[in-house]
Symmetry: C2
Subunit: 471 residues, 2 copies
């Protein structure tokens, strides 16, 4: 142990190598509720051997070389805001934190792009480009906690994705350190047909195929105009139909959020009548386009059976949109809470909503099972389920939790959905990936892993299901 720490200290000079128990303990997990539960129960006892904070890409490469030499697993750590168990270093692992890879590297106003070191905080990145009247157009709920590198590694999606796209639509260039210590710099081309898009290997790799060290993001000018629309529908299914029609008609406002009746009451008690499904739209862009799109979307909602509501509801949402709820206070009261986001085709969206909420409501101790839809595509939608359960025996919280997840993912798979829209796989969805990608898909993922990280040192235990054939 001392030997690897010594070697790491020798190669990390611009950055730091931390070994104090508090810092090691603070890097044992992300915000996965099951890790939080285990933490609360005092069961998170494994500690990494060191939290390494390289100060440059070259130092990241050297850290990986040292870890390879010692055959020591490396767990990359960005903002620690993941909710799927992507960070759970085994005893003696090295945590590679991007905390010292900070800041804007360059901003090209004419080319509308900016490069950031991977550890740059999301809100900070947005602030930096905002000074030039520009925006990333990427606004995950966790923007205050997450990092630019984490967005790439987890294949993040933001609240404005319907109009502006998800992180894969915004990444132009990437710098990645591979397991063998080589540095890959993929230049920020607007588009290229130079073989497969190699950036895509790392968008969503969850640290298993390489360590992202720098990201060049596409920018847009801050919108000249913005307009909010709120209206409510008799039920969630009717609202989904309206959203589908809006997208099919050729509109894609940046924000399109449809809440089921329970969530509508929870979030907008003053703006939505009981038992109705609230829809919020935000149009952004040049003033005339915003005006035309706003009027058209109001007319379409009207046509689809919606009732116009006070657009102050949109302001309520804008104000609270970055609030990331803590799980701890619930856990201490014996309540386990989580969210499950999936994608599904329009043709099965209403049924999936019904099936999952109904199925969750049958779980022993369930307190609530609700949903909203917040990322829209011509072909389908993202459904975001929230559940809370208080089993009679608090010791059953983990099992109740797993049961809820199983039900939600089984229904999703049965109806042709994708098991994650934007939170990723981590540990919580790992076993479902076989059905999600098919055996050939998982085999291909294993082939990539074997090719890029033959020693299996990069974030082991995450994303890729264990191979029952090996070991």
């Amino acid at each position: 142990v001392n030997e690897i720490v010594g070697r790491l200290r020798a190669v990390v000079v611009e950055g730091d190598v931390q070994t104090t128990p508090e810092i090691l303990a603070a890097h044992r997990r992300d915000r996965w509720v099951l890790s939080e539960l285990h933490d609360l129960e005092g069961r998170l006892t494994a500690l990494p051997v060191a939290v390494v904070e390289p100060g440059s890409t070259a130092e990241v490469a050297r850290v990986l070389e040292v870890c390879r030499e010692f055959a020591t697993p490396v767990v990359p750590y960005g903002g620690g805001s993941g909710v799927c168990g992507g960070i759970a270093p085994a005893e003696g692992s090295v945590v590679l934190s991007t905390a010292r890879l900070q800041g804007l590297v360059r901003l090209e106003e004419q080319d509308l792009c900016a490069s950031f070191r991977a550890g740059t905080n999301g809100l900070e990145a947005e602030r930096r480009v905002g000074e030039a009247g520009l925006t990333l157009g990427h606004w995950p709920q966790s923007i205050e906690l997450s990092t630019v590198g984490g967005w790439v590694a987890t294949r993040a999606s933001g609240q404005f994705s319907t109009g502006y796209g998800s992180i894969e639509d915004l990444v132009l260039g990437l710098e990645v350190v591979l397991a063998d210590g080589s540095v890959l710099r993929l230049p920020p081309h607007a588009r290229a047909a130079t073989g497969p898009d190699l950036r895509q290997l790392f968008l969503g790799c969850e640290g298993t195929l390489g360590i992202v060290t720098e990201v060049t993001l596409s920018l847009r000018r801050s919108a000249a105009a913005r307009a909010g629309v709120a209206c409510h529908f008799p039920g969630f299914a009717e609202g989904l139909d309206a959203v589908r029609s809006l997208l099919a008609a050729g509109y894609s406002p940046p924000v399109v959020r449809l809440y089921d009746p329970a969530e509508s009451q929870r979030h907008f008690p003053e703006h939505c009548p009981d038992a109705r499904a609230m829809l919020l739209l935000i149009h952004e862009g040049p003033a005339r386009l915003v005006e035309a799109a706003t009027e058209a979307s109001i007319a379409l909602c009207d046509e689809m059976g919606g009732t116009r509501a006070d657009s102050a509801a949109v302001d309520v949402w804008l104000e609270h949109r970055n609030r990331v709820p803590g799980f701890r206070e619930f856990l201490e009261r014996g309540i386990i809470v989580d969210t499950i986001e999936v994608t599904c085709p329009w043709s099965s969206a209403a049924e999936l909503y019904e099936r999952v909420t109904r199925s969750l409501q049958q779980v022993e101790g369930i307190l609530l099972a609700t949903a909203h839809s917040s990322h829209q595509y011509r072909s389908g939608t993202g459904l975001y389920f929230t559940f809370a359960a208080r089993p009679a025996n608090p010791a059953d919280m983990a099992e109740t939790y797993r049961e809820c997840w199983r039900r939600a993912l089984d229904s999703t798979l049965a109806l042709g959905g994708a098991i994650s829209h934007h939170h990723g796989i981590g540990r919580v969805r790992r076993e479902a990936l076989h059905e999600g990608l098919g055996d050939a898909g998982v085999a291909l993922l294993r082939t990539l892993k074997q090719a890029l990280d033959p020693m299996g040192l990069l974030n082991p235990g995450v994303l890729i299901p264990d191979d029952p054939g090996s070991a």
Copy 2:
């Protein structure tokens, strides 16, 4: 030879195995002008051992198994419309044609997607969805010649890409047969965060990593309204600036085409004054958005120094847009002609245009060196150069050709551009890929190739530069 043909005949029952000399000869090459030149000179003598036309995905898998057994290279063949030398089977290879993998498999009107077998002709695919009032929104110049599978394998881009995206934005699902004969079915999810996007390995792989057998494409409703705008600028640089401003202001009309003065005269002699650069825009979508965007783009062009022209120029373009010029008549007159499309950031676009056209004009025997810009992004543009040269000695055509390519790609690399926008690498750009992706990028591509096709049987000689270290 007879042995492998016999084995192929035994496994291909729904489809066919062709061995007549005419059919073998017809599959020796794509439309790369250098192959056409060699053909004309009688130098294309190598023949594949068979042209296999599997009738199903299962038969594709069996063909790959037989080829693996005989260690025989397999060259996939779609429409044969590529222009980069992606098809040039070595003597004794097997050509795997998708000619029998035909037609629409399913059309989901609610989910706005359609699945096609890989060999479906592009225009036929568009016609089939057109019957339902839908469109692919993908319209490459070669749409009458190319196939849906070829679009994926070459990372194609269509004439409406500025508004509707390129093929990677339109592909939802893929079925691919891997070198080991396993069948990968990646379901048509609107979006997923289930690890890296595995579809991307095959978008642009040019047949080197797998054989695409079925493609699910996103659809859109046929636009409710369409409006064309034509105007001209004092020069190409001024036009580029206007296009950049249009994109930066938040507009992305499906079609945005800017021609340099020479091409403006060549294509629009009646609509563009001499020495001016013609810009064509087509707005599509809901009527009110089209109206607002059209007016705004006219105002912006005005502001940027443009002069409005008769929008009949747009109709001229619409009428002729699928004309794919033949090289043969030129070659027979000792003239070598080709196009070179690259991508570059806005900040270097005008300079790249100047450098390349000026540099080409210095090549001995050059007849013309012109360009247009036809695919736009917030961060940059696609420049499409056309050159024609008649060297004093017709035997120098190939060398003159290579010199023109070298000049264009060297300038592109020097100014931070991508060496291909949408034609791909094939053989013509292969050696430039080292500079295009960097050594680490090429190494990663080789790692992928080794992992997915360890025997190197899938379309060898294409895309990936030879490894001087091996062999």
